[in-house]
Amino acid sequence: MELILAKAAFAFYAAAMALAFLYLFYKNDAWSLWMLRLMGVGVLLQSASFGFRLHSFWLIPENRYFLPINSFFGALAYLSLAVAAVFYFVEGRHRLGILGAFVLPWPVIGLGSALIWADPKTSGLVPALQSYWINIHPMVLMTSYAAFGNAFGVGLALLVQEHQIKSRKPSELCYRLPSIEELDDLNYHIIAAAWPVLTVGIIMGGVWAYNAWGRFWGWDPKETWALITALIYAGYLHMRYVGRLRGKKAIYVSMVGFASVVFTFLGVNFLSGLHAYLSGGA
């Protein structure tokens, strides 16, 4: 049941993404409205799927009342749910329509690759993970990842808009995208809100590590890359806030930050020892 619901959610996300791409090129507000509705259904379906996962996860006694993100499937599924829900919330309030095409590929890719490559079966938590921190530390971090994913979409939209105006032959798209300065501000505000969340998440990891292993920081690849990510975004915020540097260059830095997020989340699983708890990966 969990998988059927997740597949259905995937289908709805993919259809919503297709509508978002159509909306890029043809002005028809009905498409943007249907995109939002499909996303809403997708989020509901995936939440239900998550509920089923929770149920089967809690059937294993030692897992009781911990969240099922100890596997690659669980983490990816939660992450795409978070991106989709954040987008649904932002889009429902601001009705920008146009940003769908830049953000929706993420939940589609996330949930899609979970369904294709990751093993969905649930397993018991190893003793080290049987801590209330598992309900907090990864969730906080992944919420910040979801926000960074949205910011990346906004940055992409900014580069497209910049190119449109520089070309001197703006197409319909140019009049539909928000302005360069607005996108620049939005990118900044999302990252400014997500960065403290990331930082707090990393510190929480340190506290948990101290409780579990008796040390705060161990230069494990996951820890190191999370720190690098936080430093890149700190650099971006510094450029924006102190150096008052805006536009393309700042966007490139924030995109490098997002690449680092993706690497921390995916790539490090193949390097990390202590964080290799994510089982059933690619």
Binding site: K27, Q161, Q164, I165, K166, R168, K169, P170, C174, Y175, L177, P178, S179, I180, E181, E182, G243, R244, L245, R246, G247, K248, K249, A250
Partner: protein, 351 residues
């Protein structure tokens, strides 16, 4: 009852004739129309058209030609082929085309819809409307709106000034945070400044070689004059720069702009060069966060958007024809005393 139309527009009548009619008081014209025995009447008078819609009893033997005669007496001079005369179905279709902007100088323009509304309101106030003209004009406004929402006939900028404003808002968003700098004092720069002012641009500064003329323009658009020598400094503060001096060589080069950009901290700069020969060196466009549009760029965008509107004409006419023949059927049914109903759904047979 017969629905009659006699009118003229920018395509059929020369300007002097249109001007003679434009000065008439619409209320008085409608009053005279009634005293000539027409039962209902609405007058659409704009700078581009003068059209009389009237109803005459069938047995009165009056046709559109008689209404044209009335128009001629109003104009005080022969109108001959400058006026078109239409009856019933043709008149309905024409009114729907007018309300939809299909008959306008700029295809799809939206002012005309408001003018049709006002004309109808004025006739109603003068007690010159009845069942047929009430439904006819409300219907024309409905069709005018529908054509604009279902086709792209009113989409896209139609003037250089509106393109400039559109682009500025795609760069900066809200123009109320934008400072405008005008180099020179040409009439086109004035128009642009006024358009930007009407879109609530924050402040307008004018730098002109001839300080006197610069101060004049500045006071005309509620801005401030800047000494000519200081314009490079003003570039650091301005967001939108309009260059329209008569200088034979470029006055804004990439070095000057590059220096100004250093203190702008990456905030975009939008330059509009409407001077001939050009005022701004092309190299400026190559700088980061700087967008230089020349007159011909803006004109190309306008031409493109007008072409797109023309491309929608066919779809728009189809809606107009459909709605006009539906209305004509209603008109016939009313005249025969067995009234049918009109559809009001937004998603009718044409979607």
């Amino acid at each position: 009852m017969n629905l009659l139309l006699a009118g003229l527009n920018h395509k059929t009548a020369p300007l002097p004739l249109r001007e003679r009619l434009a000065v008439l008081d619409p209320g008085k014209t409608l009053h005279r129309l009634r005293s000539e025995g027409f039962s209902e009447g609405v007058l659409i008078a704009t700078c581009n058209r003068f059209e009389l819609y009237a109803l005459a009893p069938k047995n009165s033997g009056r046709g559109a030609e008689d209404l044209a005669g009335f128009l001629e007496r109003e104009a005080g001079s022969p109108i001959g082929s400058a006026a078109y005369r239409m009856e019933n179905g043709d008149a309905v279709r024409h009114l729907f085309e007018v309300a939809s902007g299909l008959d306008s100088l700029v295809v799809g323009e939206t002012d005309i819809l408001g003018q049709v509304k006002d004309s109808y309101a004025l006739a109603k106030e003068a007690g010159m409307t009845g069942k047929v003209s009430n439904v006819l004009f409300q219907r024309s406004i409905f069709v005018g709106k529908r054509v604009r929402t279902e086709t792209a006939i009113s989409v896209g900028p139609t003037s250089v000034a509106s393109v400039a404003v559109d682009l500025a808002s795609r760069i900066f968003g809200n123009l109320s945070d934008c400072a405008v700098l005008i180099l020179g004092a040409g009439s086109m720069a004035q128009t642009l400044a006024r358009t930007l002012r009407s879109r609530s641009a924050k402040e307008i500064a004018v730098a002109n070689r001839n300080g006197e003329r610069g101060r004049e323009l500045a006071s005309e658009c509620a801005g401030k004059a800047v000494p000519w020598e200081e314009f490079p400094k003003a570039l650091a503060i301005a967001d939108i720069v309009i260059a329209s001096t008569s200088s034979p060589t470029p006055i804004v080069d990439s070095e000057t702009v590059g220096r100004a950009m250093k203190s702008r901290m990456g905030r975009s700069l939008f330059l509009i060069d409407i001077a001939m020969p050009r005022n701004v060196d092309e190299g400026v466009h190559g700088l980061d966060h700087v967008y230089l549009y020349r007159m011909e760029d803006l004109e190309t965008i306008v031409a493109e958007s007008l072409k797109n509107r023309e491309g929608e004409l066919q779809r728009a006419s189809r809606i107009v024809h459909e709605k006009a023949s539906e209305f004509s059927r209603w008109l016939d049914s009313v005249m025969e005393g067995r009234e049918i109903s009109l559809t009001h759904s937004e998603h009718g047979e044409i979607s």
